[in-house]
Symmetry: D2
Subunit: 159 residues, 4 copies
């Protein structure tokens, strides 16, 4: 039986800074992003990731991606929390593409306070494209691929 | 620069089933756990994890863990989504301890529909204990360690 | 121009207790229901209301109400907060029908800690039924009306 | 026993438009603000209200209001939903003060799509100030009152 705990960390983006992300999405915080400890709750970072990915795709594709024949279903996510942030801080979410496959895409993400070049958290987000009705894996729509290829080229050249 | 995307997955719990988790926490869904695709949004699974870990600790410790001199801050989380679930399903969250350190603990988690032995999602959740006021790492409180040792022994024996 | 602030309060349910609600729905709290003040955030009570109404309807109708030709769209909500509650408390949501119209229904709601007869909060929730596709008001489905009539009779007799 | 359902509606702001609100706060939507019906869930509007009120106070007071000797606890909220909005729309939240008391304040609020003068939803939000430790009602801090008086004068003149 596998012991995941011993394996290297797929959200390890040490050394990645603001300028390494080809897309930056502004992300204001909300009052109740904070939890009882007075900082943004660990769960909420994934709402930032989700919003950055889908917001970018909708804008870059110029279409409502939810109505395409194939939709992106989340297969895996991860986050490492490096420094705490809190409402009312304004944040930016950095977005890059680590791997662009036929029916899936792996994003690298980072959350940075506005005006700060170093991530407060780094993440990973995998979309698998499925038929909107049957929910079976299919090739990603061409309009999605066209929106992602510039980001993949950018990230790929850096590894 | 590291390329996390190529590394093995630390939330890989293939083969883990309901009976492998020493603690099970019931987790009803809410209407708005579902997103526009009609299933529980990827973000919400982390709310299930967060609630299972802290709910277990509060009950097992018999004290308000938020008032202890040291509190658990989330350092890392991850989730793999295997099958979709949706409101109004009732879920159970399985909880195990993969690694128990001096000031940190790594949990393994799974989300299962009630009555189903196979996980719909598996996760990983790392707490680092810090001084409640200075937020600097310290040894975890003894009452926390006592609550976790039975779970660690259980999981440790299985690897 | 109307000054709503001077008007009586439509969520005034003074005197309503646990036994006045014909339906009670258990509602566990989650860790991040609490906000920076350490109690359940005002927003979250509406998630309890939303879940109680839709959860009751799905169970009582024995069907997926989201797939009916007409769906309930929320036209108005309100809440008065009487005492604070906090995770990890277990809550119950009381549900009654104050008014049952041709295409709309007004619910009365209360949030009570398990084992407590007095509400910690009272609410109001109005559903208007609309055609699922055109989103124009229509008569509510018969299966919905049948589920609500027993609750309306109950509340109506008490005014 | 009161029948709230028959009473006039305290969130009735018919005729109120964008220009009637002395404060406007930008509010981007998030992917999971949408629910299974593909529009912003009724609960989420209250997160917009909560964020607008507290965000305004923090900026206008120039201090962390959560650390003042008295904090604002929410006593009552309400919302009427006039037209649906959805991610990825950008919204603005209008903020006015309907009544400024010794220890409480009643806000009027509206949610408007950016570029639209007519509210998609109107709301009401009552803060009661309590001692931060004992949670008993006290006079609101002077720094809060100073931030609210300009808004009260503005709204008061319009009734």
């Amino acid at each position: 039986m596998s012991d995941g705990a011993a394996l290297p960390n797929p959200t390890d983006l040490r050394g990645w800074m603001r300028q390494d992300f080809p897309v930056l999405r502004p992300q204001p915080t909300r009052w109740h992003d904070n939890d009882a400890y007075g900082h943004v709750n660990n769960v909420v970072y994934y709402a930032y990731f989700d919003t950055a990915v889908n917001g970018y795709l909708i804008e870059a594709c110029g279409t409502d991606i939810r109505e395409l024949p194939a939709i992106g279903i989340v297969a895996e996510t991860g986050c490492r929390y490096l420094r705490q942030v809190a409402f009312p801080e304004h944040l930016d979410v950095g977005l890059a593409v680590a791997r662009l496959g036929r029916s899936s895409v792996t994003y690298r993400l980072a959350v940075m306070p506005a005006g700060d070049d170093a991530p407060a958290a780094v993440g990973r987000f995998v979309h698998v494209y499925v038929d909107r009705l049957t929910r079976r894996p299919v090739a990603m729509p061409e309009v999605i691929r066209a929106a992602l290829e510039p980001l993949a080229a950018c990230a790929g050249g850096r590894d």
